[in-house]
């Protein structure tokens, strides 16, 4: 078979445009008569909008109109997880309440400052353990704090003693929402000569792709033309058509280049804010450019889930990881969704070929940033947790920190995860050897050590 590119040197077609500045991202387009939209976002973490008075703003010169949640959801907001286009019940600071279009951004921002929004403040929570504790605040609508697949929003509480015990570093005693297990955990720990046990917490840091989620929209002859960034035209276009409520055949989605996505532009559900210029353009009958700010990226741009967990890992005398017992409470932020915690356990199973693994997890909402896919969801959170444990185990067992990774690494034909899926190709031992060779002259035993390991 003849291949066009494999084995040949070629220049991807997008590269020349990227070095000359000719390639266009969504915000690089313009349209005759284009006006600019700005967002009014929630200044408080959990609230209900009681009233919006935009009369003064709408009377200003250069203002063309506003768009509210009532405009985009005339039948009421969907009762589901995930960001909405606009909302009357924000569950995080920075969630878009309304958008305003004006002749330029300065006018739009001046007008937005003249809008009066009356909020009813609702209890909020920033730590999932605070929400789990009886009497703690609940992040989601209807005084709920979790979302159960195929059941909807629900409320989960632990006793004060259970929360306090977990905070003190003990294995949680509450019933988890999810349990996944393979192998004989008890037997594997019995085989272990070194067992590590401890707790961990990491933050859910945001994606921050270089290009903000700006978008330009206009309507011509019944068709919507939408310029935006995505990670896949085919996967994205149908989804955003559904969010906007336009037939797929009537949407022209234009995406020449995307300034980073990292999982946040894979699905339209992560970027419903693209519907703002589309809906606003339809309402005021002008092309609308909505330029998102870096500040907005921090709130609606998405972040990984933060994980708070308890972990117990057993190693055999030769350094083989025999057992891993992992209990995670994940911080699912203000909009819910995501399964990073299980992916973390899956990652340990895959990367270290553990004989037996048990994962238990509970996902709780907080009134913090929207969470979503980010390259390596779960895997990246657990890496800085498990790597120092490998180092400690190596030191305790008298195995080099380099060798303990080679001993446990997957190879072609090995299996991973609870479904024991085989790997068709895995060359980690070779990769580690190459890394060791390239670090010739340095003490590999110490080079491999992660920065956090030394005195962990």
């Amino acid at each position: 078979m003849a291949y066009m590119h494999i084995g040949k040197d070629f220049t991807p077609p997008d590269v020349p445009g990227k070095v000359t500045g000719r390639i266009k991202y969504a915000e690089d387009y313009t349209r005759e008569g284009m006006v600019y939209a700005r967002l009014l976002t929630s200044p408080i973490p959990h609230a209900r909008v009681l009233d919006i008075d935009a009369s003064e703003a709408l009377a200003m010169d250069g203002v063309f109109g506003i768009l509210t949640a009532d405009d985009v959801y005339p039948d009421g907001e969907p009762q589901s997880t995930g960001l909405k286009i606009l909302t009357n019940e924000p569950t995080l600071v920075g969630e878009p309440i309304l958008a305003l279009a004006a002749v330029d951004e300065k006018t739009a921002e001046t007008a937005i400052a003249a809008i009066s929004v009356t909020f009813e403040r609702l209890p909020f929570v920033l730590d999932p353990l605070d929400s789990l504790a009886e009497g703690g605040g609940n992040a989601y609508p209807g005084d709920t704090n979790t979302f159960v697949f195929r059941q909807g929003f629900a409320t989960e509480k632990w006793t004060a003693d259970q929360v306090a015990s977990f905070r003190a570093g003990n294995e949680p005693t509450a019933e988890p929402q999810q349990t996944v297990e393979y192998g004989d955990l008890e037997a594997a720990f019995a085989e272990s000569t070194y067992v590590y046990e401890g707790t961990f917490t990491n933050a859910g840091y945001p994606h921050m792709s270089m290009e903000p989620r700006s978008a330009l929209a206009y309507w011509e002859n019944g068709k919507l033309y939408l310029h935006g960034g995505s990670q896949s035209l085919t996967a994205f276009a149908d989804g955003i058509a559904g969010i906007i409520g336009v037939p797929k055949a009537d949407l022209v989605f234009i995406n020449e280049a995307t300034g980073g996505g990292f999982g946040q532009r894979a699905r339209a559900g992560s970027v419903p804010v693209y519907a703002v210029p589309a809906k606003l353009s339809q309402k005021i009958n002008r092309p609308v450019m909505m330029r998102a700010t870096r500040e907005e990226e921090f709130t609606i741009g998405g972040a990984r889930q933060g994980l708070t967990g308890w972990i117990k890992v057993g190693f055999k005398p030769d350094g083989v990881m025999a057992a891993c017992d992992l209990w995670i409470v994940s911080d699912n932020g203000g909009k819910g969704g995501g399964a990073d915690a299980f992916s973390a356990a899956d990652c340990i199973s895959v990367l270290y070929q553990t004989d037996a693994v048990r994962f238990r997890g509970t996902a709780i909402g907080t009134n913090t940033a929207h969470r979503g896919a980010q390259r390596g969801p779960g895997q990246n959170q657990i890496a800085p947790i498990i790597s120092p444990i490998m180092d400690v185990a190596a030191d305790e067992l008298g195995v080099s920190r380099f060798d303990i990774r080679k001993i446990n690494t997957p190879m072609t034909g090995d299996v991973g995860g609870p479904q024991r899926i085989p790997f068709t190709s895995a060359y980690m031992p070779e990769a580690l050897e190459m890394a060791g060779n390239n670090l010739d002259g340095m003490n590999v035993n110490h080079v491999v050590v992660s920065k956090t390991a030394a005195k962990w």
Partner: protein
């Protein structure tokens, strides 16, 4: 109409000032009126990519806004608009400058270069651009124009930098894809291309 402003007086004022006939400054000069306190010229002349451009610029307008939204030079990107990411880097008199954090009015007598001005008249890429293509330096590409302008600024000051010097020169340009090494490969390849 202001009784002091006659056509003859206006033209004389323009000739005397040597300014473009359409500038507000010329109007005040022609009419003999004092400029009001806080007066800032709106129509300014800036030198961009070797061309003198007359642009209507607001007093608080940043150079990035002028380049992108008034002159259509969208190769200069806005990543953070607060002087942190470097996507808006341009050269001002050969010095890499964050265009989002400086006012256009500050550069009426300076030489501004953007990524669009690097190609030669016959379409040949600048050696840094060519090197970045050969090393496939960009991923998403959004930071690439800024990386290129920082690299060009470095090579004009130091034609034979070490990799560490290049790393230092590009330290103000964030790449969230993590293509830093590829960009450094590009800079070192550019050194070879320039010879």
């Amino acid at each position: 109409m202001n009784p002091k402003l006659t056509r003859r007086r206006f033209i004389k004022g323009v000739i005397a000032s040597g300014a473009a006939a359409t500038t507000t400054a010329a109007w005040y000069s022609a009419t003999g009126q004092e400029r009001p306190s806080g007066f800032v010229e709106r129509l300014v002349r800036i030198n961009v990519n070797g061309q003198v451009r007359n642009v209507d610029v607001e007093p608080q307008e940043t150079l990035a806004s002028t380049l992108r939204y008034k002159l259509g030079l969208t190769g200069t990107k806005l990543g953070c608009n607060r002087g942190e990411c470097g996507a808006c880097t341009v050269l001002v008199n050969d010095v890499p400058t964050y265009a989002c954090s400086v006012l256009t009015h500050s550069f009426k007598n300076d030489r501004i270069e953007t990524v669009e001005g690097l190609e030669s008249a016959n379409g040949d890429l600048h050696p840094v651009q060519q090197a970045f293509v050969e090393e496939l330096a960009p991923q998403c590409g959004y930071c690439t124009p800024g990386q290129i302008m920082s690299a060009v600024g470095l090579l004009r000051e130091n034609a034979n930098p070490t990799r560490d010097e290049a790393r230092h020169a590009l330290a103000g340009n964030i790449c969230r894809c993590g293509s830093y090494d590829s960009y450094l490969d590009g800079v070192m390849r550019a050194v070879e291309l320039i010879g």
